[in-house]
Symmetry: C2
Subunit: 303 residues, 2 copies
């Protein structure tokens, strides 16, 4: 399969941003990153991150790229190219590869990415898609998890919770918002919400050596969290607090910078949900007293 | 498992070439490539590319990096960093990840690579290791498959055949040889032998729109091909002609350049096995007549 499929791919990739030498040589030749280079890799696997008998394979392909784009957004960077590894169950492998690649190519066109390489294997296992994403960021300007400072405002983009109703397959990477923020304010730290608002905020705080005091009523609860709540036995807030795969951004900045954003039209809603405090952990003020909140979310399978 | 394993990895990676921001943020921040950037990805899967009940998992980890280094060597480039995707069977996943990473880190130290990212999943499937390798090459100086010209000498590094006896797990990427060649001669085309000498030479010729006239007796047959021949029912030559995973280089250059190399001490033996001809296909001259040779090797599983 690989050779005829590569010929098909080569044709489809002509529309995309160019690489000097693309698919078909031992490696791709690309222009070097401007500023500094960003790189990340994330894979999704049937039965773990999606269900091939429920989800469209084109959506799966789109998701595999979008979750990596979300990581580049969380670094304040610009994506440039991807490398694609497909592990295909041997049955119907060409059809499966074609359907997954439709979604990958859709995301590549939408975000102006070149396909800088790939590998396809058929094997006795479930469909797995691994994407390496390359990008660039101005020198020393990457948003890190580790820069949050006491007093900083904590902001979240969009609304969270209930992404399992379908949004998790077509997340909107907050690349444009990240660029807007870079131009308007000094982002002190950032992370994308992949495993749950509270869990990822806890990670950001841990990396920065700080804690967070939250106004939990301000957390923007997605309509999907309300809808899921009707059947899940959990409250909409619980979904917003701990559901994974929102792929929204959590960012911190000085309170002054946060206030200055109120007057700006942003590419996505940005809501302040609390402030960074010196005391580690997540906290909520109730009747003047601090109550500790427990971070919850998707912890990767242990063994 | 992921978080404690990442802590272990972070410790182990301290010895390696540095990235500005490494494992533990949303993406890595790296220095941009000098010249142009090279990128490639190759995965190996239990049951397809190795057998976990026969092969050491540390060797498997080493191989996953080395096969990608061989691709960068075939481009005449220098490797800089890798991203690692592990798909782990759920049983003993931490031990398996640790053993595979031993080999990956060994290769990283040997070739001065930084680990610029990774993703680890456990799932209901066989061990799979996918490595993305980034590197650099001087602008417009990459060795391509497509530049072979009529009259060029065809050279192969090392000796080929029988790698399945064990060499395929610990291939020697011909990075230093490629750099020596770049400094001494004008390499007109190059490919690494992953699927078999004849098959990969045929690909190089197809990419260049030329053919090859071979002096088959000059093909350097590895001792492993002789040894494998004792039990395989195939001749040592057949092994040398069609066995995959030699990870030697096939390069072309003018006959004059090839002759000039005779006086040089090279990092690995380099043997001329024929010349490029205008007529497409692989050929052998016998009693003054051209006889067509059939390329053979490992064709990726079709379905």
């Amino acid at each position: 399969m690989e050779h005829s499929f590569l010929a098909y791919l080569r044709g489809r990739c002509r529309k995309l941003a160019q690489v000097t030498v693309g698919i078909g040589d031992d490696a791709s030749v690309l222009e070097p990153a401007t500023g500094q280079q960003l790189a990340c890799v994330d894979q999704i696997i049937d039965g773990v991150d999606f269900l091939s008998d429920e989800h469209s394979l084109t959506d799966v392909g789109y998701k595999s790229v979008a979750i990596n784009l979300s990581d580049i957004a969380a670094m304040g960077g610009r994506p440039t190219s991807i490398l694609v590894t497909l592990s295909l169950p041997s049955q119907n492998s060409t059809q499966v590869a074609g359907a997954v690649y439709e979604g990958i190519l859709e995301a590549a066109e939408e975000f102006n990415l070149s396909i800088a390489g790939g590998d396809i294997s058929t094997y006795d296992g479930p469909l797995a898609v691994s994407i390496t994403l390359l990008g660039s960021v101005d020198r020393d300007q990457a948003f890190l998890r580790s820069g949050a400072k006491e007093g900083d405002a904590i902001m979240v983009s969009g609304a969270v919770g209930g992404s399992l109703r379908g949004r998790h397959l077509r997340p909107i990477p907050r690349l444009d918002l990240a660029q807007q923020l870079r131009q308007s304010v000094e982002v002190t730290s950032a992370i994308d919400i992949s495993d749950g608002l509270s869990l990822d905020l806890d990670r950001l705080c841990a990396a920065s050596g700080v804690g967070a005091e939250l106004d939990t009523e301000k957390i923007p609860v997605h309509q999907d969290a309300e809808l899921l709540s009707e059947s899940s036995g959990r409250t909409p807030f619980q979904h917003a607090w701990s559901d994974g795969e929102d792929f929204e951004l959590l960012v911190t900045m000085s309170q002054k910078d946060a206030d200055s954003l109120a007057a700006q039209e942003l590419d996505a809603p940005l809501t302040q949900i609390g402030n960074i405090v010196g005391r580690t952990g997540l906290w909520q003020r109730q009747q003047g007293k601090l109550k500790r909140l427990s971070p919850q979310g998707y912890i990767h399978e242990s063994s």
